[in-house]
Subunit: 460 residues, 2 copies
């Protein structure tokens, strides 16, 4: 008996060390790319999520449909376990109208494309018509002071910096206007805020996104809306001609009490280390204007595809591989927080977590949030990605949804697709399935599977 | 006097070596990217070329318009010299109809999208209706033999290989069906050929492109057309159900005698080495179905932008920097051949030639056709491109238009943009300005300027 055990241990060590030879790893990774590009499910899944369900803002009927769909599709894969994790999420509804116009002289108007920011209050039933103060920062706002702002509409018009190759950095440098613009303008007696869309392209799409009133009490809150970049450019040039022009805005969005929703979770149990969890995920909710194909339908179907590849290719992972379709990334992050809270409560060991939430474009690599020793080890895997033109491995965050796991010591990673087109679509009606290229999406999925596989085989 | 000369020589050496410090080079390259992304002309130029001129097949009125436009725009830049180089080019005209259908049973037809291949002859006035033989290679054709092919339409249906990350390789492995399919099928008595479009996506666009009858005499030539990938898939599956179905095709394209056209050329004279020419270019002609925005409007405006940057930023090059807008790449390469012939005849020294003809997508790097010693030197410049996510430097050809300069010993280079979407648009009605992202195009232009600048400053 003992000899037999030694024999099997020895045999499995040989098998395992053969498995880990460079050439076998290379072959496996080639298999992931070939499979994704010829038999992957990601594109068809995304077609359904985008075209049959559509935009799926937290708390909406479509979000509920997406939860059911995600659960059914994961169950159909034959995972070891699929379940829903309950979480209360905000419910904000856009309402049935939102529009705005520039009144150059009384009776002469030009309509401009706007959309309410997520979380904004409505205007009064008859809308708001007032003069406009254009600013590029909270400092300008402060310098202008209450005497120049009270009773007016504040127009935040600082563009995203086109010089930055990293468009996410350009976003992060501009987005405080959208997120905090209203609460700042309230301090000086503004009636409403309109914010230049977070878009590097000049076009007619207003881009929504989350905003916060901070601690401003309910009765003091003012409406907040995004204006398209073309609209912002027009308004700005007309203000130069006539600083006294008036802007009209009307919207009837509304906040409701929180409602019950779910993170959708599925896993393949690890053969050697079932208690060590390698997580892959994205967010299932999206904004309501488009169908959320890039943000973050792509990340959802790519994450699901990782598990599909393990199963379809008959690879039994050493660690538990878990996919999480997080709810409510866009306007609350309630799903991600609940997930991390429960992970801590249940003493779960999250070994590694990879997020895809930067669009379904050609992948360029990953960012990693890891201690140096682990990061060095990960860097040694870069060679495996070279045939697939994946050559960016950098330090950086994993993403909003895996972020809350950082406090548990999880190594975090984020897929980094090419980012030049992302903000053309982000949070706008243009974020639709048509903007997805099948191959780019599939190469992203294979890139994710490859990384997850390497973590599973070599460990961290 | 002599001391003064020594002083100036010494002084200019200091200036020059300062110029070449890594930090100064880095700053200059940053300037190119910033300029291209904020003040570049490439996008506006392409808007005009695509939307105001449109598709510009060699020998067409639009091609003549494009020549005039190119010359005027280069003159407006204030180059040292702008001129036209005459070249005779083929003239093929699509005609005013082309259509096809599958006749499943007599009287029951399904229309499928086709387009004549460039250079094809017309069908008889009433079209051709015949049975179809589907093949995947010339070998299959040979194996079937005359007894199975005579009097039928040959349908080439070998898809581009989706597993290849390098989509240009997939193209090169499939394109013989389009290029040589007709002359091969003629050997076995086929009446016409239809070729699966060179497209990795399943959609309804037929993709045209050049074909050749080789030495087949005029009277023996048969019509050749491309069918959309969806059309090809449909036809293939219907053939499985009914191998006797008939296919109808009708087109009235026509070849005319060659006509006069031009390469458009402009240059900035080199301050130190006016006789050493650094060339940058693309092709001005395009297929007729779309507006040729990616193929190769992008390469044209990026090449023009390189010279615009030198002038706008006040950089006096050491070598002569020349832009060439080649005519007739698509169906003859007459412009490129004439250009190289004249270069040899005039004893011009082409030091380096960079081509952009792979679409206006996010640039990933370059391929180089250079001796090892020069290639090593070029590789040492890779570091300058890192901040811009340009990390692919490989060995490979420069492109079809700079190719003929190889025999003069010119070092060749080709811009390599991300290639996943290229064949969605290539030679199809979908290759339009709307498929261009401004930033991707501009980053490509800056990447080209940076390489040209490095060649100019460091030499090869």
């Amino acid at each position: 008996m003992k000899n037999l055990l030694i024999y099997f241990t020895f045999f499995s060590l040989i098998v395992f060390s053969q498995e880990k030879t460079t050439i076998n790893i290379e072959k496996k990774i080639e298999l992931f790319y070939n499979h994704s590009l010829t038999q992957g499910k990601s594109y068809d899944w995304l077609a359904h999520l985008s075209n049959q369900i559509g935009g799926r803002l937290s708390g909406s009927l479509n979000a509920e449909r997406a939860v059911n769909w995600g659960k059914e599709e994961l169950e159909a894969l034959g995972l070891d376990k699929v379940w829903l994790e309950p979480v209360m999420v905000p419910k904000w509804v856009r309402g049935n109208f939102e529009y705005a116009s520039i009144e150059t002289t009384p009776g002469t108007i030009i309509n401009v494309p706007i959309c309410a920011l997520g979380g904004s209050v409505a205007t009064p039933a008859n809308g708001i018509k007032a003069e406009v103060v254009e600013v590029d920062s909270f400092e300008s706002l402060k310098n202008l002071g209450r005497e120049n702002i009270e009773g007016k509409i504040v127009f935040y018009n600082r563009p995203m910096n086109p010089k930055l190759i990293n468009t996410f950095l350009a976003y992060s440098q501009a987005v405080n206007q959208r997120h905090t613009g209203a609460q700042e303008a309230i301090k000086y007696g503004a009636l409403a805020v309109i914010v230049r869309s977070m878009n590097l392209k000049n076009d007619d799409y207003p881009h929504t996104g989350s905003m916060s009133y901070g601690k401003t009490k309910l009765s003091k809150r003012i409406p907040a809306a995004a204006i398209s970049t073309n609209g912002a450019n027009l308004l700005s040039s007309m203000l130069k001609l006539n600083p006294k022009l008036r802007f009209f805005i009307k919207q009837n969005c509304k906040n409701y009490p929180d409602v019950l929703s779910y993170n959708v979770i599925g896993q393949i149990n690890g053969a050697e280390f079932p208690d060590k969890i390698i997580l892959v995920g994205g967010h299932l909710d999206s904004w309501d204007l488009g169908d959320g194909a890039h943000d973050d339908g792509a990340g959802i179907v790519q994450s699901m595809e990782v598990l599909n590849q393990f199963i379809s290719l008959g690879i039994k992972p050493r660690h538990t591989i878990r996919v999480v379709l997080f709810m409510n990334e866009e306007n609350g992050l309630k799903g991600a927080r609940k997930y991390a809270d429960n992970a801590i409560k249940n003493n779960e060991h999250h070994y590694f977590a990879l997020e895809s939430d930067a669009g379904g474009f050609t992948p360029r690599g990953f960012t990693f949030d890891a201690p140096d020793s682990i990061y060095s080890k990960i860097l040694s895997w870069k060679k495996y990605f070279k045939p697939y033109m994946i050559n960016y491995f950098g330090k950086g965050g994993g993403g909003a949804d895996v972020g809350p796991l950082k406090k548990t010591g999880t190594v975090l990673a984020g897929l980094r697709p090419d980012a030049q087109r992302y903000f053309d679509y982000h949070h706008a009606a243009s974020d639709t399935f048509e903007a997805i290229n099948k191959r780019e999406l599939e190469i992203g999925a294979a890139t994710m599977t490859s990384l997850i596989y390497l973590v599973d085989v070599f460990g961290l």
